[in-house]
């Protein structure tokens, strides 16, 4: 269907751009095809048959090996760390955004400016002190080591997005609630939090994807399989079986699968969520 629509449009577009579109389609999808096809081959086959040859027969041994390995341990750790982090990010940034969007006090502008400036900090400048802090707190190589940095480093952009969002909420609602005798806590819970749902979803999706794929903190603050997250499954596997290319590519597929499945279910939502990143900076 897409092809038909494109062909229909072709006469109207200059030739260069559609050509680029096709080239980019190949550039984007061929690596994925390479991964999937190769991961269904045996190791010998990658040496004996050319790289683009389809597998002689579908070989699922690589995937079985991955599933029998510690895959689910990595998955569980990712799920726990990202889940807890996202809940905290949404809650804490909504609370802070409520204050920045609605409370009038002298330091409001200054504090908000400082928080937003946090968006440009290069994470790597914080690595060494966070590493030392984590060791001193005795939480090195636990899932809890990751939650603090993950939440803190996601807060600036999340607060920025939600403050913008909450500024759009009409004042009449809270004025009515105030007349009914609601205090600021109730107004936050009953009005601002529920009315910000689209903004909260954006924040949750954007940070959820970023943290699900996060590498450097996870790599630095954890050291054993029992506490490592999915991106490190590939890293650890690469260290162990660098010569078994099909098995390694099966790991690549399996670690990328969760987000691709999520994408299949909520495309537009997810793309909108990722767009939150365009506000960054």
């Amino acid at each position: 269907m897409a092809a038909e629509a494109n062909r229909f449009q072709f006469p109207r577009i200059r030739i260069g751009v559609p050509l680029l579109g096709l080239i980019w389609l190949a550039v984007t999808t061929l690596p994925f095809l390479f991964v999937i096809v190769t991961s269904l081959k045996t190791q010998e086959e990658t040496f004996s048959a050319p790289v683009w040859a389809l597998p002689a027969h579908l070989y699922f041994g690589n995937y079985l090996a991955v599933l029998h390995g510690p895959y689910f341990t990595y998955f569980r750790n990712s799920f726990f760390v990202v889940g807890v982090s996202v809940v905290l990010i949404v809650l804490l940034s909504a609370m802070a955004a409520y204050v920045f969007a609605r409370m009038r006090f002298r330091l409001n502008k200054l504090l908000f400016g400082l928080v937003v400036a946090g968006m440009i900090v290069p994470l790597h400048a914080t690595l060494v002190p966070i590493y030392l802090l984590t060791r001193n707190l005795g939480i090195y190589d636990t899932q809890f080591a990751l939650i603090g940095p993950y939440v803190a480093l996601s807060l600036p952009i999340s607060i920025f997005i939600l403050t913008e969002f909450m500024r759009q909420i009409p004042h009449e609602l809270e004025e009515a609630a105030q007349l009914d005798g609601c205090g600021p806590f109730k107004i936050f819970w009953r009005i601002f939090f529920p009315l910000s749902t689209p903004g909260l979803a954006t924040v949750a999706i954007y940070n959820g994807i970023a943290l699900w794929n996060e590498f450097i903190f996870a790599y630095m603050l954890t050291s054993t399989t029992a506490h490592r997250t999915l991106p490190l499954a590939i890293w650890d596997f690469q260290g162990q079986y660098s010569s078994n290319i099909p098995a390694m590519l099966a790991v690549v597929t399996m670690t990328s699968l969760p987000l691709i499945v999520a994408y299949a279910f909520g495309q537009e939502r997810l793309i909108k969520g990722m767009m939150a990143g365009s506000l960054k900076g």
Partner: protein, 305 residues
């Protein structure tokens, strides 16, 4: 960014300042930011003044010796230069491709749905997955890139893409573009779809060619999005780490080294925590300066245009 300026625009008094409420609502966020962002940055500056292996309490105060060493460290300047090259490539290669693809998707309308889905895929993968994938693509013997070149009779173009000091940076930058293009494509697409269709129609009725419409109407309309994209890609390039670390580790012989990979290597392979913190702090200062200058410039732009 400029929204920060309007933070305290005058409003009708609604909730009288209740310091208790403000404190309770801000404390968790501000506390975490203080612990995991502000403290590390300050601590990093402090560590840049010591000589420490990270083991035991033998940190020795050395004043600005690390900073002086940094000023004469050719590896650092090489890595900063590589960061600049990456930033230039992002702006000159990544953004035009993203823009062209966004224009294509917007023109193709509903029929481009599948294209959009496929283009978007790299954004869902972790840098480690992408890095390992392309390490295999680039493999000099079995990698599909060289195999394909040889099959087409272009065997002389087959290269050790990541192992050659002249090629490693270009090879990794190509993958970074592959990873980032969909992001900017979506950013531009959002900009294009916010453009009034009537404008486009009117121009077409007036006999304007697609080319003219692009240069005279679409591009000016995308000005804000392009500015955001340039800012994001430059700042992102100056602090880039992931794919380079996964694919080459900054090598061979520092040919693809970036400030962040050099810092990481100094701390976690050479165990020079003091000097590593100096590199990290320098990176922080450079990024902040660039951001400050860029924001000042774009603000001036906004008032002029």
């Amino acid at each position: 960014m400029n929204i920060a300026l309007s933070a305290a625009r005058p409003k009708r008094a609604r909730i009288s300042p209740q310091w208790l409420v403000i404190a309770v609502f801000l404390a968790p966020a501000v506390g975490l930011l203080a612990i995991f962002l502000l403290y590390p940055l300050l601590s990093s500056l402090r560590l840049s003044l010591v000589d420490w292996s990270g083991l035991g309490n033998h940190s020795r105060f050395v004043g600005f010796a690390n900073w002086r060493a940094l000023a004469h460290d050719t590896v650092f300047w090489q890595s900063l230069w590589n960061n600049v090259l990456l930033a230039a490539a992002s702006v000159v290669i990544e953004l035009p491709i993203s823009l062209a693809l966004a224009v294509l998707l917007e023109k193709a309308g509903r029929g481009s749905r599948i294209l959009k889905i496929l283009y978007f895929l790299p954004l869902l993968m972790s840098s480690v997955a992408i890095g390992v994938l392309f390490k295999n693509v680039y493999d000099p013997n079995f990698g599909p890139l060289n195999v394909a070149l040889r099959a087409m009779g272009l065997g002389s173009f087959a290269q050790d893409w990541l192992g050659d000091t002249h090629l490693s940076l270009a090879s990794t930058i190509a993958v970074i573009c592959w990873q980032n293009v969909p992001f900017y494509m979506i950013l531009f697409l959002a900009g294009l779809s916010s453009m009034a269709a009537e404008l486009h129609e009117a121009a077409r009725l007036d006999g304007a060619s697609e080319w003219t419409i692009f240069w005279r109407i679409k591009l000016p309309h995308l000005q804000g999005a392009i500015r955001t994209a340039v800012l994001l890609s430059v700042l992102g390039s100056l602090r880039y780490f992931d794919l380079i670390y996964v694919m080459t580790g900054g090598g061979p012989e520092g040919s693809s080294e970036l400030m962040a990979t050099y810092m990481y290597r100094t701390v976690f392979s050479s165990f020079q925590l003091g000097y590593g913190s100096t590199i990290g702090s320098a990176m922080f200062i450079i990024v902040s300066l660039v951001a400050a200058v860029a924001l000042r410039m774009t603000r001036r732009f906004e008032t002029e245009v």
